[in-house]
Symmetry: C2
Subunit: 363 residues, 2 copies
């Protein structure tokens, strides 16, 4: 999020986001998804790249996660996503092992419709799969002048509790988006670890070391080797050390773990060894249920602008806020194309040829 977008030093080619979204949609259709669902999934990964979240973009996600999952049967291409329990402002869903994007999109629409009607609404989802960039769903809420929330848990047990030495849960991200008026919206999207797992993958691919605040190695001590960090599955919660207040990152992670794993009635990894279960929690609040929308937006703009007018500290040239760098990245990428590693384009071209669909995305 706000620390800037993830650009490695390697040379990139620029691809057209509209054609990329269409090409990825066709790949998903060729893998068995209904066209509407394929579009939802393609839009999610391309939006990740547009907003500079390469770790959840087409390269890491589609090639390394979703395509293998659809081919192996871990991901169900045609899920029967259904509501299991429902009140006026809460609901619990079964994702039927489908793409997390599809369950997330469907459930977020339920949440937004109820929040518009009642002021706020929330939903949990069990039995789903990876849902991509957490901000995808809160960004949907912004289009309707709603505040959006998403959380997700499950998958690998790759993060240690504070003071612990074995992984017990995932990077458990939380995202909150709040609309503004003239200013770019506030969009918090953070793993509750020091960094998201994809950033360790990127560091390894680019041959960079990682700071010691990110993960423990095989010996239970901090490592700067991204390969060892990925293998040991002992990432550190935000704050990392006792002096850094690592118990706070752990507390945030457990909040996400309990809202997603317990309120969905799914349970936890220990009960599902070998299965790639993923759980979600979504929410929306209608600002107009608290105060007039125009007054709300004016207050948002004033406060966000004031943040950007803070004098920067030594070594920085400006002060931003969560969602601002992503907003800038999206403007730039929509105008000039999404920068991709040439090897990513090559892999996609080979995959598309194999599936018998076109892949013509270079600008």
């Amino acid at each position: 999020m706000a620390a800037g977008t993830e650009q490695s030093a390697a040379a990139r080619v620029r691809v057209d986001p509209v054609r990329l979204e269409r090409a990825v949609t066709e790949i998903y259709v060729a893998l068995g998804l209904p066209p509407d669902d394929a579009l939802i999934c393609a839009r999610g990964v391309v939006l990740s790249d547009l907003r500079g979240h390469e770790s959840h973009g087409v390269s890491n996600s589609v090639l390394d996660s979703y395509v293998p999952g659809l081919r192996s049967g871990t991901i169900n291409p045609r899920p029967d996503i259904r509501v299991l329990h429902e009140t006026s402002v809460t609901s619990r869903w079964d994702g039927d092992r489908g793409m997390g994007y599809v369950a997330g999109h469907r459930v977020m629409q339920w949440v937004m419709e109820r929040a518009r009607r009642h002021g706020a609404a929330f939903a949990s989802v069990a039995n789903s799969r990876h849902f991509g960039m957490a901000q995808y769903y809160p960004l949907m809420a912004l289009e309707h002048d709603l505040i959006g929330l998403s959380m997700t848990g499950g998958l690998v047990r790759s993060v240690v509790p504070f003071q612990g030495v074995e992984g017990r849960y995932g990077t458990n991200p939380i995202s909150v988006a709040i609309p503004a008026g003239a200013m770019p919206p506030f969009v918090l999207d953070m793993a509750t670890t020091t960094v998201a797992g994809g950033k360790i993958v990127n560091a390894m691919r680019d041959g960079r070391s990682i700071p010691p605040t990110i993960a423990l190695g095989h010996d239970g001590r901090p490592t700067t080797d991204p390969g060892e960090a990925l293998a040991a599955k002992r990432m550190l919660p935000l704050g990392a050390t006792k002096e850094g207040s690592g118990h706070k990152g752990y507390g945030l992670a457990l909040w996400v773990e309990l809202f997603t794993g317990v309120l969905s009635a799914q349970g936890f990894a220990a009960r599902f060894e070998g299965d790639e279960f993923v759980v979600h929690f979504f929410g929306a609040w209608d600002p107009a249920a608290f105060l007039p929308l125009e007054e709300f937006k004016a207050l948002m703009d004033g406060r966000l602008r004031e943040m950007t007018e803070t004098p920067p500290s030594e070594g920085y040239d400006r002060v931003l806020y969560a969602g601002f760098p992503e907003w800038e990245a999206e403007q730039e990428h929509r105008a000039n194309g999404i920068p991709l590693h040439p090897s990513v384009v090559e892999q996609f071209t080979a995959l598309a040829a194999e599936l018998g669909v076109p892949f013509d995305v270079l600008r």
Copy 2:
């Protein structure tokens, strides 16, 4: 919270929590609060001490903040707390410059009643004052098998945005409490800074230095001097540095800032120079609106127990979770009394004598 309770090395005397609550209630009544409101305020500070949150207990809060505020007129002892806007699950309130405890308690009761009826509910409060330990309100929700949320903002501009060098907002705490069955409940209560301000005060009183991840000094660089940290008003967001992902703590702080300052329609410090305005946001979810309560509690117990069974890392003897150390502290303090600095008891004794009320609290 989970890093353990705040015990300084200094000698302490033990006081009886029930008699302390009664004595503080009488002090508040002598300062003009109605008896019911006085009890709510006394219960809050004593509960802070019981749970090991000395930074929000009787010593720092009553003597240094609430009593001077009530005497100077900054805090209104008999506020007209009223709802300004209301839907079925949302509301916005005016605290009329009263004790934040009183507004918080009143509004949290509204939130809990609506959450029981509809599944979830939320409320914002403008024009209030310091509301004490953030977990006081979520703890109320636990008594009714509800999940509770609180956030607060306002007061001094003592925290720098990530990459910035001037204070722009407060320590903006967030608290979430989730009930369990046999295990102690999950109670997250964290300032979105590396540490809460009261811990810097305690370090100064005890003559300890602070880690460089807590605050910038007058020169805009990290300081280890608690006195300079308090004077410079440049505390660092959780994560502190670029390598520590300080942008995440800043993002969490701004989330709190916007939910409390904007959804309450209060606005921000810049519009209220010289006034000690404080804003709050409260919420509750009913777990039974998602899944059967007994299943919910069984899942909670299983997951929390699993956390405590994680092997500890080098230098630690066990793994806990947010709310566990406070639960232990509360058991110990209810059995053996609350440890207070002898000077705190002396100051209270002098204050009580001045107000003509008894202060007999030693065990």
